[in-house]
Symmetry: C2
Subunit: 254 residues, 2 copies
């Protein structure tokens, strides 16, 4: 937590705060003020740090500024299931703050920069600024849509299709954030993480990745995934980006 991070101009800060949402929802100067007050508390986490544990009372709501986090569950059997990846612009622990208790773990997969809000003033801002509440609703609905699509993957897609689908999804989400480069996107997770995300064993993740590479669909290079043939990858995945609702967002802005 350092004050030096606050010597950014307001516009940039707002951009960070509402993340991708700020591009699509109008904001008044009043809201900007409210946000400025809220965002006094910037918090950073080292890679591997737990932000919250299951069954623990909540502490804060976090907004990711930079880095990746994972939400996951530990089953009584000891197995782990990753629910989803949180990227810059995503909120964390909002639900925990509603419930008062978390039902899952959240951990930093990379060095993680966040804004941390106490729930009371955060809720107050939502009730004060309907546009912020709408943005929050959008964020929640978006997250739920991603979970629903993951359910479809786990229930009805093969290992190869799941992997391809995950890559298509990450590509689109990161692209919107401007975090892709020349057909490649960062993937700072282990093959075990991928397995726990897609419901596969590590061994099968490995085989699936190598097969996707061998087929010329992707290439893996040092924490990056390069998409070599997006058309075929989407076809393999059965990927249709409608559930992300990015195009409607862009349209609304016009």
């Amino acid at each position: 937590m350092s004050d030096s991070t606050f010597h950014v101009d307001l516009a940039q800060m707002i951009e960070q705060i509402v993340g991708k949402l700020s591009r699509f929802f109008d904001m008044t100067e009043e809201m900007a003020d409210g946000i400025r007050v809220l965002c006094k508390d910037s918090t950073e986490f080292a890679r591997g740090t737990l932000l919250i544990e299951a069954d623990q009372p909540y502490q804060k709501v976090f907004l990711v500024r930079q880095g990746w986090a994972v939400r996951y569950k530990l089953l009584p059997s000891g197995d782990r299931q990753i629910i989803n990846f949180a990227l810059p612009g995503d909120f964390l622990c909002f639900n925990a703050s509603i419930f008062g208790t978390s039902d899952h773990f959240v951990a930093a997969k990379t060095f993680l920069q966040t804004f941390a809000f106490d729930i009371a003033p955060f809720q107050h801002m939502l009730t004060s600024y309907p546009a912020m509440a709408l943005a929050m609703s959008w964020a929640n609905a978006h997250e739920e849509a991603v979970l629903a699509e993951r359910i479809a993957s786990l229930g009805r897609r093969s290992a190869r299709q799941r992997m391809a689908h995950l890559f298509c999804e990450l590509w689109r989400r990161l692209q919107l954030l401007g975090l892709t480069e020349q057909g490649a996107f960062p993937l700072p997770v282990t093959q075990e993480d991928l397995g726990d995300t897609l419901g596969l064993s590590v061994v099968h993740v490995n085989r699936t990745l190598r097969r996707l590479s061998a087929d010329g669909l992707i290439a893996r290079e040092h924490g990056l995934v390069r998409i070599l043939d997006m058309g075929r990858l989407q076809q393999v995945a059965g990927f249709e980006d409608g559930y992300l609702h990015f195009t409607e967002l862009a349209a609304r802005r016009r």
Copy 2:
């Protein structure tokens, strides 16, 4: 749609409207008035009716009063994946109203009674009454928690465990609504529906159900599931009800 359904007293109507939420959140008389206006439009659907289709513009937000509905996706391959079951007290199409377009289908599994809200006045009520917005947040968070647990099931549980877990979950949800009787709950869905929910083939659903019966965990009787040994069923499922957050709700009320 008939006016005769409105000759119920206000208290009962409110109870229906906010469903299980009304037991846990305080309501003012003003809110009750707002709700009364909103709920003028009661809508019923025959079994099998589609309430909304994927890629279609939204129409309404629905609150289930009675009956079951399913939310599901159709993949490009033609496979179907059921996302979840909507029970009395659950909202439908709220996300579609946020996005402006639905990313999934919603169909009535039984004769279905709902309140149908136009999105504009509904949103207006949420901004007017923070307690309603909080209740809505709770409902959203709850739904997302259920999806997250389904992800864990699909990713890391066996067919037997998934089935047991689904039954435990439905039992708890229906119990809260007072819709269980003597250890049994209604399950108005086909084995194909169960398969599309749990990511299994119909054949395997059948075998799994028979094995659970043979083991004395459940009994199936004409649209009902009777739980014969809840302790063992929960153990098989690895069921821990924390993710439903029902106990916190009850505690909050005290």
